[in-house]
């Protein structure tokens, strides 16, 4: 499947992009992370969470959307 991956804050700095298309054949967030780490090894050193449909998801969540968003630690307020 073809995913759109979005990066915010520090993560966009690390990957040098804020949004990219990413071809991927697995079904779980954990599998997606393994795959994206191959493309952007520096992400592995960073603290972040993945979100799908405006909700934070855990590693064993199934991917149901075409868009995955990677979020660094929050700093609102």
């Amino acid at each position: 499947m073809k995913l759109t991956v979005k990066y915010f804050g520090l993560l966009a700095e690390v990957t040098q992009c804020s949004e990219e298309q990413f071809k991927f054949s697995g079904t779980l967030i954990s599998e997606f992370l393994e795959a994206i780490y191959l493309k952007h090894p520096k992400l592995k050193e960073k603290d972040f969470q993945a979100a799908q449909s405006n909700e934070i998801v855990s590693k064993n969540t199934k991917i149901t959307q075409a868009e995955i968003v990677l979020l660094p630690p929050f700093a609102g307020g």
Partner: protein, 147 residues
Amino acid sequence: METKKPKNVFKEGAISSEFIANSIAKHQSKTSIGAHNIFLGQVRADIIDDKTVSAIEYTAYEDMANAKFHDIREAAFNKFNLTCMHIYHSLGNVNVGEICLFVFVSSTRRKEVFKAIEFIVEEIKANVPVFGKEIFEDSTHQWKVNS
């Protein structure tokens, strides 16, 4: 199921004291209100490794952030007996000493507003995807993390 579209909580740049005054004045016609509580987040000139923060540049995953702000509003109205609630957060550049977060709750009685304001601010800090790039006076930067 809640189907109401989330409001846009974000404002470009700092939140001015005139904007806050105007919000307060608008509540004079709501004569069942006995107590307001306002929380303001202000950008600090923190010193990190001998470098001083001069501004924070805020970005957000706006779609999710507005959905989360909406969830926080709904939760606060359910938990506390509130008459009104308003939340505004800055995007873009906010200089030190300027206001980046404005939370405003009102109720008939005071006990409710104390509990509500703390709940809302802690929820925002923990659950809303807003990111802050702390810009130092020498134009280098680091990424802020809420504690």
